[in-house]
């Protein structure tokens, strides 16, 4: 793992080109509007944080981005092309994700999990699998080498043969990252990567995310751990009740009283103010 420092200052947001553009995404489930008119841009080389209280619609927004849900309104484009609302096509296009509650293939080995991640970057079909020609063997060997490389990257190379379900919790998280990286994404979406981790593990995850970014992969991360988010992210967007409240660098977000209000609550009389502030939508701060 690359030993990258956590200083955000060093990693001044590279201007980059827009990689992922979500514009005016609305997701309604019947009468419930889970995501309301959220726009977000991720540029190449950026680490973007997405925070918000529980039930703010962060994961729903993630699912809209990755094709698990079809947004009711709005569009999501990746590298300028509109993303098809099918998860496997989104991965094919170059976005990979991890899940809030780990979703590994528990009864496959660690290596096999990563090999499944290679699915979109390999193309040998049934016939060549049965005939086992030289092309198949070359691709399989290459796939295994790549998979081992990703396992090495997250520090699980020595566990390649054990079952995913037998890994300790922190390593399962790492394996999920390795599996996502194996699909060679341009953008990695992490859904609460440090949930349930102790400070040391959180710190290791932080370094892992920096190392991922250093490989030229942009990262969009949902997290509740504020220290983690503010150490890590070039920009942070705050989602409250399905709406984007504010977006900006760590200082901007931390200084915003609406964010504090959303997390800690407001005195009764201040309530009216904050809702009006909500309605006047959020200032876009695209650097």
């Amino acid at each position: 793992m690359t030993d990258t420092t956590t200083a955000t200052v060093d990693n001044a947001p590279a201007p980059g080109t827009p990689l992922l553009q979500a514009s005016n995404v609305v997701m309604r489930f019947g009468g419930l509007t889970a995501v309301n008119d959220v726009s977000l841009t991720v540029n190449t080389g950026e680490i973007i944080g997405l925070i918000g209280p529980n039930g703010a619609g962060k994961t729903t927004f993630f699912n809209c981005l990755t094709g698990l849900y079809v947004p009711t309104e709005g569009t999501v484009t990746y590298k300028g092309a509109t993303l098809p609302p099918k998860p496997h096509k989104v991965t094919q296009a170059g976005m990979a994700r991890t899940f809030q509650n780990i979703r590994l293939f528990h009864n496959m080995t660690v290596l096999e999990n990563v090999l499944v991640g290679r699915h979109t970057r390999t193309k040998e079909g049934l016939l060549s699998a049965i005939l086992r020609g030289p092309g198949y063997r070359r691709e399989e060997a290459e796939s295994r080498a790549k998979a081992m490389e990703y396992l090495d990257f997250v520090g699980l190379a020595d566990k390649a043969g054990s079952l995913a379900r037998n890994l300790p919790y922190g390593e399962q998280r790492k394996l999920e990252v390795a599996r996502a990286l194996a699909s060679e994404p341009g953008l990695l979406l992490l859904d609460e990567p440090t949930a349930g981790m102790n400070p040391q593990e959180t710190r290791a995850t932080e370094e892992l995310v920096f190392a991922v970014r250093d490989r030229g992969i942009a990262v969009l991360v949902i997290e509740h751990d504020m220290r983690f988010i503010f150490n890590l992210c070039d920009r942070v967007a705050v989602l409250v009740q399905g709406r984007k409240l504010v977006e900006g660098d760590a200082a901007t977000v931390q200084g915003d009283e609406r964010v504090v209000a959303a997390y800690l609550g407001t005195p009764y009389e201040a309530d009216a103010d904050s809702t009006t502030a909500d309605d006047s939508t959020t200032p876009e701060e695209n650097q």
Binding site: N54, G55, K58, T59, T66, L68, K86, P87, H88, T91, Q92, A96, R97, F99, Q100, N101, I102, R103, L104, F105, H106, N107, M108, E112, L115, V116, G117, R118, H119, T120, T122, E124, G125, L126, A129, I130, R132, Y136, E140, S143, L163, R165, N166, L167, P168, Y169, Q172, R179, A180, S183, D191, A195, G196
Partner: protein
């Protein structure tokens, strides 16, 4: 005893013997019991030769006495292994004492089964001669002695009775002693020969009592060999000589018809080819159920599609199309048509998941049967000749080799069913190859990923629907291929063969049971499960009326005690017995695995 129960299982690796005897005395008693048991097989057990196998002869064993004889010898063998007899130590890397107990109990079980069968069939204990009583007492003596041996297994904490009777879980295997490659090859060949011998004997058992006795001893012996660690060790050796083992297995299977001589040779060869067809179809189902995790309850329909396709182009009289394809073309056509039907049925049904899929496939399976029944010229166009079916399907003739008549190879002569057996063996080899290669590839990994977690699989770029459809189509193709041979072996075909459940295989329920009980996701599991199921229903025909009841009971018992099947997939074994095998490692804590916000 009670003290040891309190201690953690690691510490209580060897509790006191169930029967407190000095070790030397226990060995002596066991040895005496085992030798006497084997020797008693040479005595006469009953007065009347009415009991099948004629157990009245003193001087050599007959029928069931051979089983008792084998049981006694096996007990003695493992007793000697435990005693440290030179050259035998390698036979029980997981401890010989527990193995001896299991074998002694197995020998006693077959012996007492025989004695009880004699008493029941001939009417009363009076029918047993002294020889019979000697056998019974000797076999119990061996059990008592074996229970006095020092214990070598790992015992779970639990009730006293369980610890008393249970021979213990297999302890850690002793490290393997290095073996010269020649010896390993010899072990592989010997194992294959032994497997062929056991299978051939089982198929050749000519009456139900003998088969039941054979089954009891084989079951106990399999348990014993598993407990002794021999199976694990053999598995390692087989893994090292994989090519030899798989080629050898097919050669051994190919030799099966040559082991069958005498009057029942053709009947046994018929049984053999039916088992192969059933097993090959089960292996196809294993792709759908075992790998992709799709519960298909109408799978036998694909066997039917292949069979009907082959029958329609076989030139049989009374079919709608009066054409006769060469067999290779018919087989290919049967497989392809079946595969197309797989896609046609899969495309609408695979949109539902889980239990709903099971119900829908069950419906489609029945629809196939009813449609075929109604394509009879009255309810619909005459294609399949309705409920009467297509009969007089001609025998195959490939390159001048007439499958309908007997052929002799040197001193051996093999008949019609044996010819088909060899053909079906070739097809089974193809199906095994297709299964194992596709399972162990990018495609197979995608299937397993879908089975494990479909959402995560699609998030990894797997087109769930497409791969499920592929599994469905490939499974159907393989069943169709088996069906093309099926119809020629059986001369005729009727729609009623392809039911969901019935007393005779093949039907969807039996196929599924063969896969589940054999071991899902493995190659050998469905083959073993199918052989066992087919032999059981063919040999124990007196149970015909209770067959479905017993079938259900077997399933329940298996699901309770061995949910991973006879031959467990390494992964599934861990899944079901994790608490017993994995101590410290823990998965995510429950509260962290709650539903996504």
């Amino acid at each position: 005893m009670t003290d040891t129960l309190q201690i953690r299982p690691e510490a209580a690796a060897a509790p006191k013997p169930a029967i407190p005897l000095p070790t030397a005395a226990a060995r002596a008693v066991t040895a005496a019991g085992a030798v006497l048991t084997a020797a008693s097989a040479f005595l006469s057990w009953t007065y009347s030769s009415q009991f099948p196998g004629d157990l009245t002869v003193t001087g050599y064993p007959g029928g069931l006495q051979w089983i008792t004889f084998t049981g006694g010898l096996l007990t003695l063998l493992y007793l000697l292994v435990g005693y440290g007899a030179p050259g035998l130590r390698g036979l029980a890397p997981g401890g010989a004492e527990g193995t001896t107990v299991i074998l002694a109990v197995g020998a006693a079980a077959t012996t007492w089964f025989t004695l009880i069968a004699i008493s029941v069939e001939l009417g009363g204990l009076a029918n047993l001669t002294t020889g019979g009583w000697v056998a019974g007492v000797a076999s119990l003596l061996a059990v008592a002695g074996a229970l006095g041996l020092p214990r070598d297994g790992q015992h779970p904490q639990g009730n006293r009775l369980g610890v008393l009777l249970y021979p213990g879980k297999r302890p850690e295997l002793r490290p393997a002693e290095p073996m010269p490659a020649v010896l390993e090859v010899g072990v592989v060949l010997l194992t294959l020969a032994a497997a062929l011998g056991v299978f051939a004997y089982g198929v050749d058992t000519s009456y139900a009592e003998l088969f039941a006795g054979f089954l009891i001893l084989t079951g106990f012996a399999a348990w014993a060999l598993n407990r002794s660690g021999d199976f694990a060790r053999l598995g390692e050796i087989m893994q090292r000589h994989r090519v030899l083992a798989s080629v050898g297995a097919f050669v051994a299977a190919g030799l099966f018809p040559f082991t069958q001589t005498g009057g029942s040779a053709e009947a046994n060869a018929n049984l053999g080819v039916s088992i192969l067809i059933f097993a090959a179809t089960a292996l196809g189902l294993n792709i759908v159920v075992g790998l992709a995790g799709l519960l298909d309850l109408g799978y036998v329909a694909f066997l039917g599609v292949g069979a009907y396709t082959a029958a329609l182009v076989s030139g049989a009289a009374g079919t709608a199309f009066n054409v006769q394809f060469p067999f290779w073309a018919a087989a290919l056509l049967g497989a392809v048509v079946s595969g197309i039907f797989g896609v046609l049925l899969g495309a609408p049904t695979l949109r539902v998941r889980g239990d709903y899929l099971a119900i829908v496939t069950l419906g489609f399976g029945e629809i196939f049967r009813i449609v075929v029944q109604n394509l009879d010229g009255t309810s619909g166009p005459n294609v399949t000749n309705g409920a009467i079916g297509i009969s007089n399907v001609p025998d195959l003739n490939i390159l001048g080799f007439d499958f309908g008549s007997a052929h002799s190879f040197g001193p051996f002569s093999i008949g019609r069913f044996a010819n088909y057996f060899e053909l079906m063996l070739l097809f089974t080899a193809i199906i095994v190859l297709v299964f194992s290669r596709s399972a162990n590839s990018r495609i197979g990994r995608a299937w397993v990923a879908i089975r494990e977690d479909e959402t995560a699989a699609t998030a990894m770029g797997i087109n769930g629907f497409r791969f499920k459809l592929l599994a469905f189509a490939l499974g159907a193709t393989l069943a169709g291929l088996a069906g093309t041979v099926f119809v020629h072996v059986n001369y005729s075909i009727v729609p009623d063969t392809f039911q969901f459940a019935g007393p005779t295989p093949p039907n969807s329920a039996f196929l599924l049971a063969a896969v589940v009980i054999g071991g899902m996701g493995t190659v050998s599991g469905p083959l073993v499960g199918a052989s066992l199921f087919f032999l059981l229903q063919a040999k124990l025909s007196f149970l015909h009326d209770y067959q479905l009841l017993l079938f259900g009971l077997t399933l329940i018992l298996f699901m309770r005690f061995r949910p991973e099947g006879i031959i467990p997939n390494r992964r599934r074994q861990l899944e079901f017995h994790e608490s017993q095998t994995e101590g410290g490692q823990e998965g995510p804590t429950p509260e962290l695995r709650t539903a996504e916000a």
